[in-house]
């Protein structure tokens, strides 16, 4: 039996209270195997980013049970969640959020330092893995959008997390650049057996996933396996 990376039961997240309460996620039951490449698909407001944030422990469920990498998240306090994120997950966001005053290498190294790992070597290895080693000493302003996103991915994986969470990683990129970024994520998934949860509203990207989960109004409306994932460089949108 495969090891479970994510296990959720009756997972719910409500923002606000009373008349202005919004149910972003309603009673989600979910299991994701380790090493799977999962795409969360759905329109705006369907709850995919909320689910990603809960799995990544940057948000707290209002109800339900959530276990990631064997750790029960719904019982963790703030310190515990920080420790969890530090040791288990890496994030990639639509906007790259690189620190403009640090070079590509320093941006990656910052995270390895903060998470108590040996800085420079791991950071360089991460940049190498995303094909950015030759641009290590460039500042973000000197990098293209795709390059910045690859540095952001390097930053996310430098600490060697078991789980990579990507929220619309190609949302700010053109087709060619987007494909290159997706290819990097796909390689990391394969080569490092890293579980990937990728949020997108672009249905085409779902073709490269092992599994596609569709959400609408905070609920999972479809959960399908993809027996023949397509390589990133063959995607068209």
């Amino acid at each position: 039996m495969s090891e479970m990376a994510v296990r959720a039961e009756g997972l719910a997240r409500t923002y606000g209270t009373g008349a202005v309460a919004v149910d972003a996620l309603v009673g989600v039951d979910l299991e994701i195997e380790s090493g799977q490449f999962v795409v969360l698909l759905g329109p705006s407001g369907s709850g995919k980013t909320t689910l990603l944030n809960l799995v990544g422990a940057i948000d707290v469920p209002t109800a339900g049970h959530l276990e990631v990498d064997g750790i029960r998240l719904d019982g963790l306090d703030g310190e515990g969640r920080t420790r969890f994120r530090r040791e288990h997950v890496g994030f990639v966001f639509q906007f790259f959020n690189l620190i403009p005053t640090l070079t590509a290498l320093e941006n990656v190294q910052l995270i390895t330092e903060l998470t108590g790992r040996d800085g420079s070597d791991q950071a360089r290895a991460a940049l190498e893995a995303v094909g950015m080693a030759d641009r290590a000493d460039h500042f973000p302003a000197a990098l293209s959008g795709g390059e910045q996103q690859r540095v952001a991915i390097a930053r996310a994986v430098a600490k060697r997390p078991r789980l990579l969470l990507a929220d619309e990683p190609t949302g700010a990129l053109d087709l060619e650049t987007g494909r290159r970024v997706l290819d990097v994520i796909s390689r990391l998934n394969r080569e490092r057996a890293m579980t990937v949860l990728l949020v997108t509203h672009n249905a085409v990207i779902a073709e490269m996933a092992d599994r596609v989960i569709r959400l609408r109004d905070g609920r999972i409306v479809a959960d399908t396996l993809n027996p023949n994932p397509v390589a990133a460089d063959r995607l068209e949108w």
Partner: protein, 778 residues
């Protein structure tokens, strides 16, 4: 170097103009703190060392009865008690004259010794030898071997200067507590063998000077000994704190103490505000980065420490060199000041704790300024941060738009709403204006106050041009009235007295004027004019000091003659210099005839077109006249010193404008940085850089002008409080600020604020619209 430190350093470098402004402000604040506090310490140490070296007395008993010295010397709290005499008499030095004082020094004196700086001490048995006080010697270029003539009832008597000396009693050559500001060429001191001074007759006042033993409880022992002396029949007592020279110098020392508090508060306050504005903006701008770092595992504590380090680092960057510069400046001030006052012993005290405190001020100030933004960064939830940048301020219809008749143009609405868009930042801009106004108005107010008070004292109250002293009490003043250029002459009596009410005593000067005198006006606090009558007019401070009111009877004890009489208080006069007493000369003649005769002098008023120097020489040539003292010389001297005052205010003006500049500059650049995208969008839509500059200028000026009125009110009260700290029975420092001063101060600060916009406005002109819109720079 840790990457987070690299980030911090580069972030600070990115905002270098704003950071530099803050660093310089902290530097100036800490430097002024160190300089004024260490100068305060050095001056205090210099005085104390000098006082110990010469055995400066702890208590003076004037008009002391025979035998009191023995009683006091036997007291267990007393180390030494000595009797000496003083007499105020005219001196003639070459062709110049003044009313000076001869101070008797007993043989083997251990209290109030004279430090001989040049020449030698006099022979105790030689009645014609004196040591000239350093200030008198300097003012009249006296050297060892020169001769000074001293007035006696028998005529001018020559004495030889055998030495130049200094005494703790006359480090600042004050004639009395009521005449602290005597000029060196108007008043001087000779030290002579005490028996020779005692032989001067009834004009010589017998004093006992007392020095306490080490370790006794000073305040209670001084009170007990003073009560003992008064009970024995002494005229008055005063302590070292009340001694005229020491009291005058302590005003200066206190000034340094006040500055060591005021400056750091103003400058570090401004720097703190600037830091707060800058860092708050930085946290907003780095919101997404903070969210990402938090998502990747950065702990709250790490986030907090990181942003706190901006404040601490900036504070330290200004405070460390500021503390070093302050220590250096303190040395310069201490040497310059003690040199200017001619304190014989200069002790420069660089207290190690002062720079440490200076650095701590910078560190704590920086940390406090960064505290709130760092907390805000720490509290940022990653999920929340990822939802995009928070809008900078909410749009809402302002009160101005609601009450304005008719519809405002879109441009005006934008200006009004933007001014109120971020209340905290507008308040920071306003506070910059308030701090700048305060610094300028405190110093400018000092000039206005001094000028108004001098005008009141020497133009509105004193109406005489000169006071004439005689070799012997004059019978007839008509000869003075015949001197060409003299408009009026009146007799006057001036004598040191003690006024006693119950168990309280106040030593002052009693003046006797003609009932209908034209030489002095008696003005109340509300500028009503009082007339002399049968009672006593006294300075308004005696209302509280003696606990008396109009109609109460007080006892007046005359120092030189020992005459004592009771007299009712007829009114209170409000005079800037001193707290003195006034009586009708005829009434005084009737109840204290000895002093009325002994201390009789004359007041003279010149014709407006006459040459004062010519009249003075003519008056001095009149038979029987010993000296002519110009009564407005102090005002003239003060006018000469006004240049220094203006230089001081000029420096404060620059510093105040700089404060306003730094804060407004920081808030302005932050304001623009937050709105880069909207400004770029407006430019893209065809709004010209000039239009945008105008909008932003009007917006900032609106905030600054709105802050000016409350700023002037705050500045006025701070200035009034600062002045009040110098207010005493010796000086009335009631703040007076001329209306134009308010106007110029406000204009200076507004111009500084206006100028501080220029770098920001230049940024608008050079804004790369394409880049900003593409990158959504925050």
């Amino acid at each position: 170097m840790r990457v987070l430190t690299v980030k911090l350093r580069r972030d600070l470098r990115r905002s270098r103009a704003q950071v530099l402004g803050i660093v310089v402000t902290v530097f100036v604040g800490v430097m002024l703190f160190g300089a004024s506090y260490d100068a305060y310490q050095s001056l205090t140490a210099s005085y104390e060392t000098t006082f110990d070296r010469v055995g400066f007395a702890d208590l003076w008993v004037t008009a002391a009865p025979e035998g009191l010295e023995t009683t006091l010397a036997a007291d267990p709290a007393v180390e030494a008690a000595e009797t000496r005499h003083t007499v105020d008499v005219p001196f003639r030095i070459g062709d110049r004259r003044l009313v000076g004082r001869v101070v008797g020094v007993p043989e083997g004196a251990t209290v109030n010794q004279v430090m001989v700086l040049d020449g030698a001490m006099f022979d105790p048995s030689a009645a014609d030898q004196v040591v000239a006080d350093q200030h008198l010697a300097r003012a009249f270029q006296l050297e060892v071997g020169d001769t000074v003539e001293v007035a006696t009832p028998a005529g001018w008597r020559p004495v030889t200067v055998v030495g130049i000396g200094a005494s703790a009693e006359y480090l600042w050559p004050s004639k009395s507590r009521q005449e602290l500001l005597a000029l060196p060429d108007q008043f001087g001191v000779l030290y002579a063998p005490d028996p020779a001074v005692a032989a001067a007759g009834p004009a010589a006042v017998r004093d006992v000077v007392v020095r306490l033993r080490e370790g006794v409880e000073r305040d209670s022992e001084l009170s007990r000994l003073a009560a003992l002396a008064m009970a024995a029949g002494a005229g008055d007592t005063y302590t070292r704190d009340e001694q005229p020279s020491n009291a005058a110098l302590q005003e200066d020392v206190q000034g340094f103490g006040e500055m060591s508090f005021l400056f750091p508060v103003l400058f570090l306050g401004a720097a703190g505000l600037g830091m707060w504005v800058l860092l708050t903006r930085m946290v907003v701008a780095q919101r997404a980065v903070i969210g990402t770092l938090r998502a990747e595992g950065m702990s709250r504590r790490q986030v907090f420490s990181h942003y706190l380090a901006y404040g601490v680092g900036t504070g330290l960057a200004g405070a460390i060199p500021g503390a070093a510069a302050g220590a250096g400046l303190a040395l310069v001030i201490a040497h310059a000041y003690t040199g200017a006052i001619y304190v014989p012993i200069t002790v420069v005290r660089v207290t190690p704790s002062t720079p440490v405190f200076g650095v701590l001020f910078g560190l704590v100030g920086g940390a406090l300024a960064a505290w709130a933004p760092a907390r805000r960064a720490m509290a940022l939830e990653p999920a929340e941060a990822m939802r995009g940048p928070a809008p900078t301020g909410r749009g809402k219809v302002t009160l101005v738009e609601r009450v304005w008749p008719g519809r405002l143009t879109a441009e005006t609405r934008l200006v009004v709403r933007n001014a109120l868009r971020n209340p905290r930042r507008s308040i920071a801009t306003g506070l910059g204006v308030v701090l700048g106004l305060t610094l300028v108005l405190v110093s400018w107010g000092m000039i206005d106050t001094v000028q108004v008070l001098l005008d009141r004292q020497f133009r509105q109250i004193q109406q005489a041009d000169a006071q004439v002293a005689f070799l012997a009490p004059p019978g007839d003043l008509s000869a003075l009235g015949q001197v060409d250029g003299v408009a009026a002459v009146e007799p006057v009596v001036q004598a040191p007295v003690s006024i006693v009410a119950g168990d309280r005593t106040y030593g002052t000067i009693l003046w006797g004027f003609d009932r209908d005198t034209t030489m002095h006006r008696f003005l109340t606090a509300s500028d009503d004019e009082l007339r002399l009558g049968d009672g006593l007019l006294v300075g308004v401070d005696l209302h509280d000091l003696l606990g008396v009111d109009v109609g109460d009877t007080v006892t007046v004890r005359v120092g030189p003659t020992g005459e004592t009489f009771d007299v009712p208080i007829a009114g209170f006069v409000d005079e800037p210099l001193g707290t003195q007493a006034y009586m009708d000369l005829a009434v005084l003649d009737g109840i204290a005839p000895q002093v009325a005769s002994l201390a009789r002098q004359a007041m003279v008023r010149y014709r407006p077109d006459a040459d004062p120097d010519v009249i003075r020489r003519s008056l001095e040539a009149t038979p029987g006249v010993a000296a002519v003292v110009p009564t407005r010389a102090l005002e003239a001297a003060a006018d000469e010193y006004m240049g220094l005052f203006y230089a001081f205010v000029g420096i404060m003006l620059v510093l105040g404008a700089a404060l306003a500049f730094v804060l407004v500059f920081n808030t302005m650049t932050v304001n623009l940085a937050e709105r880069t995208v909207e400004v770029a969008t407006m430019k893209a839509e065809g709004v010209s850089a000039a239009q945008l500059a105008r909008l932003i200028t009007v917006e900032n000026l609106t905030v600054m002008v709105a802050a000016t009125l409350p700023g002037l009110v705050v500045a006025y009260y701070v200035a009034a409080g600062f002045m009040a700290s110098f207010d005493s029975d010796l000086f009335t420092f009631t703040l007076h600020i001329r209306p134009l001063t308010f106007l110029w101060t406000a204009l200076a600060v507004l111009v500084a604020g206006f100028a501080s916009q220029r770098p920001g406005l230049r940024t608008i002109r050079s804004l790369d619209v394409a880049r900003v819109v593409r990158e959504r720079s925050v």
